[in-house]
């Protein structure tokens, strides 16, 4: 038996197909993952993301610590509540994890990191923090529910009742501490508008029930994966890991090179790679024939060494197979993907595939 989130019983009661996800028993779908996918693109769906790791860092030196720890620069966060997406790198410039950092208040930041990398991340942060005066606290007393879709915000506000009043003021990619226990962020992993709601474990079931009542439909990890892939968002462990840098993973935009005297971990290695020319890049693929793209399928561009699909699936919005692939840098706009011994044609595109319910390609 795996670890269970506070919502486990609600998932089982709703008929979810449960699967092991990095040691957690999580809902894969509640019947049809394609219907759940459309629900998020067209209306509002919710995801139990309690397995993700919330970490609060406090102290007078927290800013200088995070400016060393992260490849993106928290000095870009000028206003309280603002959020930033970043990679955390090792000295080789390889990706230890990707995360969202929220500027909660002076001397206080919140990080949301992946569940599969939890122990590694916490150990790394603790080690890097030794030279700084601060406290790092994992918030396993909190749980997280993501509500996503064009109608997500209004339905979530309804479900939160009095506590939901005032949430309209939260800007895109901001967080608001509603009260001592509840924080609501306008972030997500689907390419749609919506919230990620963090609250005490004991309040998880009643909020989930209120969201159901407000017409928000539960969605599983299956839909979460196709939604994030369409939205052009990387998945740690598939699209990047400790064998590659952000520059080879479509994440060059998250590396803050300026100011040049900010010595974040991995900077030297990244500069060297940048100056020598980055050999590989992460691109989007759209299969032009019938079939489904899958992780690890071989990608062939005429005259170049073969590449590989890092995340492949079927796009319910486009009705076509789509993927991320790591290929040799170049200008090609077509490739062949090897599927069961046959070579099928795919277009090479720049993600995202879908944003705010609409096709981008």
């Amino acid at each position: 038996m795996g670890k269970r989130t506070p919502l486990y019983d609600m998932h089982v009661a709703a008929g979810a197909q449960m699967v092991d996800f990095g040691g957690w028993d999580m809902p894969l779908n509640y019947g049809s993952q394609i219907e759940e996918h459309h629900q998020v693109r067209r209306d509002a769906g919710m995801f139990d993301v309690s397995h993700m790791t919330i970490v609060d860092i406090h102290g007078e030196q927290v800013r200088s610590f995070l400016r060393k720890l992260l490849a993106n620069d928290v000095d870009r966060l000028k206003q309280t509540g603002k959020a930033l997406y970043s990679c955390m790198l090792n000295e080789e410039g390889h990706v230890l994890d990707d995360l969202i950092v929220y500027y909660m208040h002076d001397n206080g930041f919140r990080l949301v990191v992946n569940s599969a990398t939890r122990e590694k991340d916490l150990a790394w942060m603790a080690m890097q923090a030794m030279a700084f005066d601060l406290t790092i606290k994992e918030r396993d007393d909190l749980t997280m529910i993501a509500v996503q879709g064009p109608n997500a915000r209004s339905k979530a506000q309804q479900a939160l009742g009095e506590r939901g009043q005032g949430l309209d003021e939260i800007g895109v990619f901001y967080i608001q501490e509603v009260d001592a226990e509840l924080a609501v962020a306008r972030t997500g992993y689907t390419g749609e508008d919506g919230y990620e709601i963090m609250l005490p474990v004991a309040q998880a079931s009643s909020l989930w029930a209120a969201l159901l009542e407000a017409g928000v439909r539960p969605c599983g990890l299956g839909a979460r994966d196709t939604l994030r892939l369409e939205a052009g968002m990387n998945l740690y462990g598939a699209d990047m890991d400790e064998s590659v840098t952000p520059l080879e993973s479509g994440l060059g935009w998250t590396v803050a090179w300026e100011p040049q005297d900010r010595h974040f971990i991995g900077r030297q290695a990244l500069e060297k790679q940048r100056d020598n020319g980055v050999e590989n890049k992460l691109v989007g693929l759209v299969l032009q024939e019938r079939g489904v793209l899958r992780n690890h399928q071989k990608v062939i561009v005429e005259g170049l060494p073969a590449g590989e699909i890092t995340s492949g699936s079927f796009s319910p919005t486009l009705g076509k197979a789509i993927a991320f692939a790591r290929i040799r840098a170049g200008e090609a706009d077509k490739c062949k993907v090897e599927i069961r011994g046959r070579q099928l044609t795919a277009d090479i595109i720049r993600p995202p595939f879908v944003r705010n319910g609409k096709a981008c390609i």
Binding site: Q17, L28, N29, S32, Q33, I34, G222, T226, R290, G291, V292, R294, S313, F314, P316, A321, R340
Partner: protein, 130 residues
């Protein structure tokens, strides 16, 4: 609980088989199998006229989640495949024992159908698999 019609025959690899009046058999995947796979988005059908032996992989059914081979239940020749699945593979989810059939086969041995697993044995098999 999966639907396992009493009148059909089954394989360990989750195909169902029905015997037609002209001696051919119709083959599809079971309700249990479609449920495990989830939403189907692509089916690779066997060529009409192709000959297969029992246990050969002859079709591929792909869901959003995974690709899965379908195996030929008996030695024989493919006489028809379900063209509708090319555009609407979800027929397998909606009606696995009806409109979601995959192909028809003329068995080399007319009596071979009777050797296939019956509904009770298949029900037991999927109960064991949990």
């Amino acid at each position: 609980m999966s639907n396992v019609p009493q009148e059909l025959r089954y394989t360990k690899t989750h195909e169902w088989i029905s015997l037609n009046d002209d001696g051919t058999v119709t083959v599809g995947i079971t309700d249990h199998a479609q449920h495990l796979l989830g939403d189907l988005v692509f089916v690779e059908l066997p060529d009409v006229g192709g000959t297969f032996s029992e246990g050969d992989d002859c079709a591929v059914v792909e869901s959003v989640k995974a690709a899965s081979d379908s195996y030929c239940p008996l030695d024989g020749e493919i006489v028809e495949h379900n063209e509708a699945l090319s555009d609407t593979p979800e027929l397998i989810n909606q009606d696995p024992y009806g409109d979601g059939w995959i192909f028809k086969l003329r068995p080399d041995d007319a009596g071979a159908y009777d050797t296939l697993m019956d509904a009770d044995a298949y029900s037991e098999l999927i109960a064991e698999e949990g």
